[in-house]
Subunit: 157 residues, 2 copies
DNA sequence: TCGATACGTCAACCAGGTTGTCGTAACATG
DNA sequence: CATGTTACGACAACCTGGTTGACGTATCGA
Protein backbone atom coordinates (compact mmCIF):
# COMPACT_ATOMS: atom_id res chain seq x y z
CA UNK A 1 0.00 0.00 0.00
CA UNK A 2 1.84 3.03 -1.19
CA UNK A 3 -0.40 5.81 -0.03
CA UNK A 4 -1.16 6.64 3.57
CA UNK A 5 -4.74 6.81 4.73
CA UNK A 6 -4.36 10.48 5.45
CA UNK A 7 -3.09 11.12 1.94
CA UNK A 8 -6.04 9.29 0.50
CA UNK A 9 -8.44 11.41 2.52
CA UNK A 10 -6.74 14.58 1.39
CA UNK A 11 -6.79 13.48 -2.21
CA UNK A 12 -10.53 12.97 -1.98
CA UNK A 13 -10.94 16.40 -0.46
CA UNK A 14 -8.64 17.88 -3.05
CA UNK A 15 -10.62 16.29 -5.83
CA UNK A 16 -13.82 17.71 -4.55
CA UNK A 17 -12.34 21.14 -4.11
CA UNK A 18 -10.85 21.11 -7.56
CA UNK A 19 -14.27 20.43 -9.03
CA UNK A 20 -16.09 22.79 -6.72
CA UNK A 21 -13.70 25.67 -7.26
CA UNK A 22 -13.59 25.23 -11.01
CA UNK A 23 -17.34 24.86 -11.14
CA UNK A 24 -18.10 27.90 -9.12
CA UNK A 25 -15.61 29.95 -11.10
CA UNK A 26 -17.20 28.84 -14.33
CA UNK A 27 -20.67 29.57 -13.00
CA UNK A 28 -19.56 33.06 -12.08
CA UNK A 29 -18.22 33.47 -15.59
CA UNK A 30 -21.61 32.55 -16.95
CA UNK A 31 -23.36 35.13 -14.88
CA UNK A 32 -24.24 33.21 -11.73
CA UNK A 33 -22.29 35.02 -9.11
CA UNK A 34 -21.62 34.34 -5.47
CA UNK A 35 -23.12 30.87 -5.70
CA UNK A 36 -22.04 28.19 -3.29
CA UNK A 37 -23.06 24.55 -3.25
CA UNK A 38 -25.44 25.07 -0.37
CA UNK A 39 -27.42 27.36 -2.65
CA UNK A 40 -27.63 24.70 -5.28
CA UNK A 41 -28.77 22.24 -2.65
CA UNK A 42 -31.47 24.58 -1.48
CA UNK A 43 -32.75 25.28 -4.98
CA UNK A 44 -32.81 21.62 -5.76
CA UNK A 45 -34.77 20.87 -2.62
CA UNK A 46 -37.27 23.61 -3.36
CA UNK A 47 -37.75 22.24 -6.83
CA UNK A 48 -38.25 18.80 -5.33
CA UNK A 49 -41.10 20.11 -3.23
CA UNK A 50 -39.57 21.31 0.00
CA UNK A 51 -41.09 24.73 -0.47
CA UNK A 52 -41.47 26.04 3.07
CA UNK A 53 -38.95 27.14 5.66
CA UNK A 54 -39.48 24.28 8.05
CA UNK A 55 -39.48 21.68 5.35
CA UNK A 56 -36.28 23.01 3.83
CA UNK A 57 -34.67 23.04 7.23
CA UNK A 58 -35.48 19.39 7.70
CA UNK A 59 -34.38 18.54 4.20
CA UNK A 60 -31.05 20.35 4.41
CA UNK A 61 -30.40 19.41 7.99
CA UNK A 62 -29.89 22.97 9.14
CA UNK A 63 -31.87 25.24 11.41
CA UNK A 64 -34.89 27.20 10.26
CA UNK A 65 -33.02 30.37 10.95
CA UNK A 66 -30.23 29.32 8.63
CA UNK A 67 -32.83 28.57 5.98
CA UNK A 68 -34.32 32.01 6.38
CA UNK A 69 -30.93 33.61 5.82
CA UNK A 70 -30.07 31.40 2.87
CA UNK A 71 -33.39 31.83 1.15
CA UNK A 72 -33.18 35.54 1.87
CA UNK A 73 -30.00 35.63 -0.15
CA UNK A 74 -31.47 33.56 -2.95
CA UNK A 75 -34.50 35.80 -3.08
CA UNK A 76 -32.39 38.95 -3.11
CA UNK A 77 -30.35 37.53 -5.97
CA UNK A 78 -33.44 36.67 -7.93
CA UNK A 79 -33.27 32.89 -7.78
CA UNK A 80 -36.28 32.31 -5.59
CA UNK A 81 -39.74 33.84 -5.41
CA UNK A 82 -41.75 33.92 -2.21
CA UNK A 83 -45.51 34.06 -1.90
CA UNK A 84 -48.05 33.54 0.82
CA UNK A 85 -49.86 30.25 1.22
CA UNK A 86 -53.57 30.89 0.83
CA UNK A 87 -54.55 27.84 2.80
CA UNK A 88 -52.13 28.25 5.69
CA UNK A 89 -51.57 31.79 6.81
CA UNK A 90 -48.34 30.98 8.58
CA UNK A 91 -46.54 29.59 5.61
CA UNK A 92 -44.52 31.31 2.95
CA UNK A 93 -44.19 29.28 -0.20
CA UNK A 94 -40.91 29.25 -2.07
CA UNK A 95 -40.55 28.64 -5.75
CA UNK A 96 -37.81 28.93 -8.33
CA UNK A 97 -37.68 31.87 -10.67
CA UNK A 98 -36.64 31.53 -14.27
CA UNK A 99 -33.16 32.54 -13.22
CA UNK A 100 -33.19 29.94 -10.48
CA UNK A 101 -34.01 27.20 -12.94
CA UNK A 102 -31.32 28.54 -15.23
CA UNK A 103 -28.77 28.25 -12.47
CA UNK A 104 -29.62 24.62 -11.83
CA UNK A 105 -29.49 23.82 -15.51
CA UNK A 106 -26.21 25.62 -16.04
CA UNK A 107 -24.71 24.12 -12.93
CA UNK A 108 -25.47 20.63 -14.08
CA UNK A 109 -23.94 21.36 -17.45
CA UNK A 110 -20.81 22.93 -15.99
CA UNK A 111 -20.09 20.00 -13.72
CA UNK A 112 -20.67 17.53 -16.47
CA UNK A 113 -18.18 19.40 -18.60
CA UNK A 114 -15.65 19.26 -15.81
CA UNK A 115 -16.24 15.55 -15.42
CA UNK A 116 -15.78 15.07 -19.16
CA UNK A 117 -12.54 17.01 -19.09
CA UNK A 118 -11.30 14.69 -16.38
CA UNK A 119 -12.48 11.65 -18.28
CA UNK A 120 -10.51 12.81 -21.26
CA UNK A 121 -7.34 12.99 -19.24
CA UNK A 122 -7.39 9.63 -17.50
CA UNK A 123 -9.98 7.73 -19.47
CA UNK A 124 -13.70 7.52 -18.92
CA UNK A 125 -13.52 4.07 -17.39
CA UNK A 126 -10.82 5.10 -14.95
CA UNK A 127 -12.94 7.98 -13.80
CA UNK A 128 -16.03 5.87 -13.60
CA UNK A 129 -14.10 3.41 -11.46
CA UNK A 130 -13.44 6.15 -8.95
CA UNK A 131 -17.11 6.87 -8.55
CA UNK A 132 -17.94 3.19 -8.49
CA UNK A 133 -15.39 2.48 -5.79
CA UNK A 134 -16.76 5.19 -3.58
CA UNK A 135 -20.31 4.12 -4.21
CA UNK A 136 -19.37 0.53 -3.41
CA UNK A 137 -17.96 1.72 -0.14
CA UNK A 138 -21.34 3.06 0.73
CA UNK A 139 -20.25 6.65 0.53
CA UNK A 140 -23.24 8.92 0.38
CA UNK A 141 -23.36 12.37 -0.99
CA UNK A 142 -23.60 14.35 2.22
CA UNK A 143 -27.18 15.48 2.48
CA UNK A 144 -26.38 18.61 4.35
CA UNK A 145 -22.97 20.09 3.85
CA UNK A 146 -22.58 21.96 7.04
CA UNK A 147 -19.76 24.11 5.84
CA UNK A 148 -18.81 25.51 9.18
CA UNK A 149 -18.17 22.71 11.57
CA UNK A 150 -17.74 20.20 8.79
CA UNK A 151 -15.04 18.78 11.00
CA UNK A 152 -16.33 19.62 14.37
CA UNK A 153 -16.08 16.44 16.35
CA UNK A 154 -19.79 16.72 16.82
CA UNK A 155 -20.37 15.17 13.44
CA UNK A 156 -19.57 11.75 14.77
CA UNK A 157 -22.16 11.16 17.44
CA UNK B 1 -21.31 8.15 -18.58
CA UNK B 2 -23.67 7.13 -15.88
CA UNK B 3 -22.82 9.56 -13.14
CA UNK B 4 -23.31 13.30 -13.32
CA UNK B 5 -20.41 15.59 -12.64
CA UNK B 6 -22.15 16.94 -9.59
CA UNK B 7 -22.63 13.46 -8.23
CA UNK B 8 -18.98 12.69 -8.73
CA UNK B 9 -18.01 15.81 -6.82
CA UNK B 10 -20.33 14.93 -3.97
CA UNK B 11 -19.02 11.39 -3.83
CA UNK B 12 -15.51 12.74 -3.46
CA UNK B 13 -16.64 15.03 -0.69
CA UNK B 14 -18.59 12.23 0.92
CA UNK B 15 -15.57 9.97 0.81
CA UNK B 16 -13.45 12.53 2.50
CA UNK B 17 -16.03 13.20 5.14
CA UNK B 18 -16.52 9.54 5.84
CA UNK B 19 -12.81 9.18 6.52
CA UNK B 20 -12.51 12.42 8.41
CA UNK B 21 -15.50 11.78 10.62
CA UNK B 22 -14.54 8.21 11.37
CA UNK B 23 -10.97 9.25 11.99
CA UNK B 24 -11.77 12.04 14.35
CA UNK B 25 -14.24 9.87 16.23
CA UNK B 26 -11.62 7.17 16.63
CA UNK B 27 -9.02 9.71 17.74
CA UNK B 28 -11.41 10.97 20.37
CA UNK B 29 -11.91 7.40 21.51
CA UNK B 30 -8.17 7.08 21.93
CA UNK B 31 -7.93 10.14 24.08
CA UNK B 32 -7.27 12.87 21.54
CA UNK B 33 -10.29 15.02 21.89
CA UNK B 34 -11.59 17.98 19.97
CA UNK B 35 -9.04 17.48 17.23
CA UNK B 36 -9.74 18.72 13.73
CA UNK B 37 -7.62 18.28 10.64
CA UNK B 38 -6.33 21.81 10.80
CA UNK B 39 -4.72 20.91 14.09
CA UNK B 40 -3.00 17.97 12.54
CA UNK B 41 -1.81 20.17 9.73
CA UNK B 42 -0.42 22.68 12.15
CA UNK B 43 1.41 20.06 14.21
CA UNK B 44 2.85 18.53 11.10
CA UNK B 45 4.09 21.89 9.88
CA UNK B 46 5.66 22.67 13.22
CA UNK B 47 7.42 19.34 13.18
CA UNK B 48 8.63 20.08 9.68
CA UNK B 49 10.27 23.25 10.88
CA UNK B 50 7.65 25.98 10.59
CA UNK B 51 8.04 26.83 14.22
CA UNK B 52 7.08 30.49 14.40
CA UNK B 53 3.78 32.27 14.00
CA UNK B 54 4.57 33.96 10.73
CA UNK B 55 6.10 30.91 9.19
CA UNK B 56 3.18 28.77 10.19
CA UNK B 57 0.80 31.32 8.74
CA UNK B 58 2.57 31.18 5.41
CA UNK B 59 2.73 27.43 5.48
CA UNK B 60 -0.94 26.93 6.31
CA UNK B 61 -2.13 29.79 4.15
CA UNK B 62 -4.03 31.49 6.94
CA UNK B 63 -3.53 34.73 8.78
CA UNK B 64 -1.13 35.15 11.64
CA UNK B 65 -4.04 35.87 13.89
CA UNK B 66 -5.65 32.58 13.01
CA UNK B 67 -2.37 30.85 13.76
CA UNK B 68 -2.22 32.48 17.16
CA UNK B 69 -5.69 31.21 17.98
CA UNK B 70 -5.00 27.72 16.68
CA UNK B 71 -1.67 27.36 18.43
CA UNK B 72 -3.25 28.80 21.55
CA UNK B 73 -5.68 25.92 21.51
CA UNK B 74 -2.95 23.38 20.86
CA UNK B 75 -0.89 24.79 23.68
CA UNK B 76 -3.82 24.77 26.08
CA UNK B 77 -4.51 21.14 25.19
CA UNK B 78 -0.92 20.20 25.75
CA UNK B 79 0.12 19.41 22.21
CA UNK B 80 2.50 22.29 21.68
CA UNK B 81 5.10 23.96 23.84
CA UNK B 82 6.12 27.57 23.39
CA UNK B 83 9.43 29.13 24.29
CA UNK B 84 11.25 32.35 23.55
CA UNK B 85 13.86 32.54 20.83
CA UNK B 86 17.14 33.57 22.39
CA UNK B 87 18.52 34.98 19.21
CA UNK B 88 15.46 36.92 18.05
CA UNK B 89 13.55 38.58 20.83
CA UNK B 90 10.41 38.90 18.76
CA UNK B 91 9.94 35.28 18.02
CA UNK B 92 8.20 32.61 19.99
CA UNK B 93 9.35 29.15 19.06
CA UNK B 94 6.84 26.34 18.85
CA UNK B 95 7.62 22.72 19.38
CA UNK B 96 5.67 19.51 19.83
CA UNK B 97 5.18 17.99 23.23
CA UNK B 98 5.25 14.27 23.80
CA UNK B 99 1.47 14.31 23.57
CA UNK B 100 1.66 16.23 20.31
CA UNK B 101 3.91 13.62 18.77
CA UNK B 102 1.59 10.95 20.09
CA UNK B 103 -1.32 12.57 18.33
CA UNK B 104 0.48 12.60 15.01
CA UNK B 105 1.54 9.02 15.39
CA UNK B 106 -1.91 7.86 16.42
CA UNK B 107 -3.57 9.86 13.70
CA UNK B 108 -1.44 8.28 11.04
CA UNK B 109 -2.24 4.87 12.39
CA UNK B 110 -5.96 5.51 12.61
CA UNK B 111 -6.21 6.71 9.04
CA UNK B 112 -4.19 3.81 7.78
CA UNK B 113 -6.55 1.47 9.54
CA UNK B 114 -9.49 3.15 7.91
CA UNK B 115 -7.82 2.87 4.55
CA UNK B 116 -7.15 -0.81 5.15
CA UNK B 117 -10.77 -1.38 6.10
CA UNK B 118 -11.79 0.17 2.81
CA UNK B 119 -9.24 -1.86 0.93
CA UNK B 120 -10.68 -4.98 2.43
CA UNK B 121 -14.13 -4.14 1.18
CA UNK B 122 -13.39 -3.28 -2.43
CA UNK B 123 -9.90 -4.66 -2.90
CA UNK B 124 -6.60 -2.96 -2.36
CA UNK B 125 -5.99 -2.39 -6.05
CA UNK B 126 -9.41 -0.83 -6.53
CA UNK B 127 -8.72 1.57 -3.73
CA UNK B 128 -5.25 2.30 -4.95
CA UNK B 129 -6.72 3.08 -8.35
CA UNK B 130 -8.86 5.78 -6.81
CA UNK B 131 -5.84 7.52 -5.37
CA UNK B 132 -3.88 7.03 -8.54
CA UNK B 133 -6.64 8.49 -10.67
CA UNK B 134 -6.85 11.60 -8.54
CA UNK B 135 -3.09 11.94 -8.44
CA UNK B 136 -2.95 11.56 -12.21
CA UNK B 137 -5.45 14.36 -12.50
CA UNK B 138 -3.02 16.58 -10.71
CA UNK B 139 -5.18 16.85 -7.64
CA UNK B 140 -3.16 18.21 -4.78
CA UNK B 141 -3.89 17.75 -1.16
CA UNK B 142 -5.12 21.22 -0.29
CA UNK B 143 -2.28 22.87 1.57
CA UNK B 144 -4.53 25.04 3.62
CA UNK B 145 -7.99 23.77 4.31
CA UNK B 146 -9.73 27.03 4.91
CA UNK B 147 -12.71 25.46 6.57
CA UNK B 148 -14.87 28.51 6.55
CA UNK B 149 -15.07 29.91 3.08
CA UNK B 150 -13.94 26.66 1.54
CA UNK B 151 -16.46 27.48 -1.13
CA UNK B 152 -16.41 31.20 -1.06
CA UNK B 153 -16.10 32.30 -4.64
CA UNK B 154 -12.90 33.98 -3.59
CA UNK B 155 -11.06 30.71 -3.92
CA UNK B 156 -11.07 31.02 -7.67
CA UNK B 157 -9.20 34.23 -8.33
C1' DT C 1 22.61 55.27 12.49
C1' DC C 2 18.41 55.03 11.09
C1' DG C 3 14.80 53.73 7.78
C1' DA C 4 12.69 49.59 6.10
C1' DT C 5 11.05 45.39 7.16
C1' DA C 6 9.34 41.47 9.81
C1' DC C 7 7.36 39.43 14.06
C1' DG C 8 3.72 38.83 17.34
C1' DT C 9 -0.36 40.66 19.31
C1' DC C 10 -4.72 43.03 20.08
C1' DA C 11 -9.23 44.78 18.92
C1' DA C 12 -12.71 44.94 15.77
C1' DC C 13 -15.26 42.83 12.42
C1' DC C 14 -17.53 39.28 9.36
C1' DA C 15 -19.93 34.99 7.69
C1' DG C 16 -22.62 31.45 8.48
C1' DG C 17 -24.19 28.85 11.42
C1' DT C 18 -27.08 27.84 16.37
C1' DT C 19 -30.39 28.46 20.23
C1' DG C 20 -34.11 30.54 22.57
C1' DT C 21 -38.09 33.33 22.49
C1' DC C 22 -42.15 34.90 20.64
C1' DG C 23 -46.58 35.86 18.08
C1' DT C 24 -49.68 33.68 15.37
C1' DA C 25 -52.15 30.10 12.77
C1' DA C 26 -53.91 25.48 12.51
C1' DC C 27 -55.55 21.52 14.54
C1' DA C 28 -57.50 18.16 17.80
C1' DT C 29 -60.08 17.16 21.58
C1' DG C 30 -63.37 17.57 25.46
C1' DC D 1 -67.24 25.62 20.18
C1' DA D 2 -63.67 26.72 23.41
C1' DT D 3 -59.25 25.77 24.34
C1' DG D 4 -54.79 23.49 24.88
C1' DT D 5 -51.17 21.76 21.85
C1' DT D 6 -48.44 21.88 18.12
C1' DA D 7 -46.16 23.85 14.02
C1' DC D 8 -44.60 27.84 11.33
C1' DG D 9 -41.79 31.83 10.57
C1' DA D 10 -39.22 35.50 12.41
C1' DC D 11 -36.23 38.05 15.57
C1' DA D 12 -32.32 38.81 18.69
C1' DA D 13 -28.45 37.13 20.73
C1' DC D 14 -24.63 34.36 20.55
C1' DC D 15 -20.65 31.06 18.92
C1' DT D 16 -16.84 29.74 16.01
C1' DG D 17 -13.28 30.37 13.15
C1' DG D 18 -11.74 32.99 10.25
C1' DT D 19 -10.00 38.26 8.42
C1' DT D 20 -8.16 43.06 8.50
C1' DG D 21 -5.87 46.95 10.39
C1' DA D 22 -3.18 49.12 13.80
C1' DC D 23 0.58 48.96 16.80
C1' DG D 24 4.91 48.22 19.57
C1' DT D 25 9.11 46.21 19.20
C1' DA D 26 13.16 43.79 17.33
C1' DT D 27 16.24 43.00 13.52
C1' DC D 28 18.54 43.96 9.33
C1' DG D 29 20.87 46.55 5.80
C1' DA D 30 22.50 50.63 3.31
Amino acid sequence: MTRSGADLALLLLGGFRALADAGSAELARRGYDKIRPVHDFALRSILAGADTTAELARELGISKQAVIKTVGFLEAEGYVAVEADERDGRRRLYSLTHRGRGLLRTGEQVFNELRDAWAQRIGADQLEAVGDALADLGVRAPAHLDAAGWFSGSSAE
